[in-house]
Amino acid sequence: MKHLVTKIKRYVKLYLIYCKFSFILNVTYRFSFFVDLFVEIGYSVVTVFFFRIIYFQVEKIAGWSFNELLLLTGINIVFIELLVGFVFTWGFRTLPEKINNGDMDFVLTKPVNSLFSVSLSMPYYSSLITAVLGIAIVIRSLLVLDINLHWVDFLSAGVMLFSGGATAFSILAIISSLSFKFVGRSEILPRIGLGFLTEYTNKPHHIFKGFLRKVFTFVFPVVYMCSLPAASILNGVSFLYVIFSVVLAVGFLVLTIKTWNILVRSYTSASS
């Protein structure tokens, strides 16, 4: 137990150093930083613009009104931007390049867990700052919808978001780690992982019917990531969903660690 606590403290300290170094690197070229920020905000604006145009034509989509969908969109923006910022842009996205160039040698030879090193060593601050836009959209939606937020619903949403985040990290890690086995010229595998998450987490879960509903609830559990938390805030959800989201998150994390450890053995250095 004491050894575990020491290990956790060590990784927390290391992560803070990574954050500091990454921040210095991100803001060194100020113009590039602001262009990156503009781009990240742009992606979020596109999503809101799209739904705004559609809602000029329809009143509801799968039973969700515009402001309800905006709440979901705001949560989704926060979710995806945090995922992209913490683990994707300078993390999993660069994994194929590291494998091709032999830079994984520098990762694997360090006395640090390689999954931690690859995924969390360089946060991307433009995405993290853009998450604030998502929070603003959520607050705006809550005010317009005039929701009396019960602490149980808020807590349920928070737990599902956190579990959903862990599950999303796991899905991204598993798909990206296939790069060890299937070496490519581009970053296509991490982009498949992120593409899957961005395409399906911003949709209300009611659009998935029948077999699809089962797949996206139990196999690729995207419904827990944004839609069910939004539904929890709007109307409350069954506590079973909350428990199941935690169980899925733990299961996926265990699977991720095992998969990563198996696949990393396929890595052969490119002679650095």
Binding site: Y29, F31, S32, V35, D36, F38, V39, G42, Y43, V45, V46, F49, F50, I53, I54, F56, Q57, V58, I61, A62, F182, V183, G184, R185, S186, I188, L189, R191, I192, G195, F196, E199, Y200, K203, H206, I207, F208, L212
Partner: protein
């Protein structure tokens, strides 16, 4: 001429070297397409919107990647890195015209895509093609015409973006900026028929419609050839000339200030 043929052959080989890139592209596009179809199925719910029914919308979104693949270019990323890392020197000292070399590279990758990824889209299109939507040979020909010319226009736009690497540290953000612009103004997210009148006028004047919306909408017949073709050609030529002139101007200025650090 011989040297350019060799470039083309080499890039063709490079494009086929990593099979995972080909399969990965197919899977990523299928994931995206599936998500779009699920959403639009929920939106339409057996009604017409903006004069388009679900079946035509289905064909529109399936034909978007087919229409867009010729015009999708990412020269700016590679050329941008070459300028940043000083690797452009390799091209400047050789008797090679860089824009021809980059165009041949794009052609090689397009050819690979045509024989590997495009057939999957054609199969999906044929499989899901609604019986009540009819295509004419003229529409198909016009769509192919625009797919090729969309490539040309996007190529020079991308070379313009690449030139920015002479002044800015990173150009990958501009590549993403292009993606955002195409999503809205290019018709990837939705056809222009969904937009209000003012927005439609603005969008029609911009060049981005030629990359996705124009080929796809002529293909499925929601854009009338008699009404729009001549206007589209005139606007296209104006934009092409502007992009070529701007590219040449920026290239000349950029090469003058180019310093090959690290090479």
């Amino acid at each position: 001429m011989k040297k350019y043929c060799q470039f083309f052959k080499t890039y063709l080989l490079v494009s086929t070297a990593y099979k995972v890139d080909i399969f990965g592209t197919i899977i990523r596009e299928l994931i995206r397409l599936f998500a779009i179809l699920i959403l639009w199925n929920a939106i339409f719910s057996s009604q017409q919107l903006s004069g388009i029914d679900f079946n035509r919308m289905l064909v529109y979104f399936i034909s978007i990647p087919l229409a867009g693949f010729p015009s999708h270019i990412s020269v700016s990323t590679s050329l941008g890195y070459e300028i940043k890392r000083g690797e452009l020197s390799n091209y400047l000292v050789k008797p090679v015209n860089i824009w021809i070399e980059k165009m041949l590279k794009s052609f090689a990758f397009k050819l690979n895509y045509l024989f590997t990824v495009a057939p999957f889209y054609l199969i999906i299109l044929i499989f899901f093609f609604p019986r009540d939507v009819s295509l004419s040979a003229v529409n198909i020909f016009v769509a192919l015409f625009w797919a090729f010319f969309g490539f040309l226009l996007n190529f020079f736009l991308d070379m313009l973006v690449a030139d920015l690497a002479f002044w800015f540290d990173e150009v990958w953000a501009f590549q993403h900026f292009k993606s955002i612009t195409f999503s809205i103004f290019g018709g990837i997210l939705l056809p222009f028929e969904f937009l209000g009148r003012l927005l439609r006028v603005i969008f029609n004047m911009l060049p981005f419609k030629y990359f996705y919306y124009i080929p796809a909408s002529y293909f499925i017949g929601i854009r009338s050839i008699d009404k729009f073709l001549v206007k589209d050609v005139i606007v296209y030529i104006l934009w092409l000339v502007l992009f070529i002139c701007l590219y040449k101007l920026l290239w000349r200025s950029g090469v003058k200030r180019y310093e090959a650090f690290g090479n």
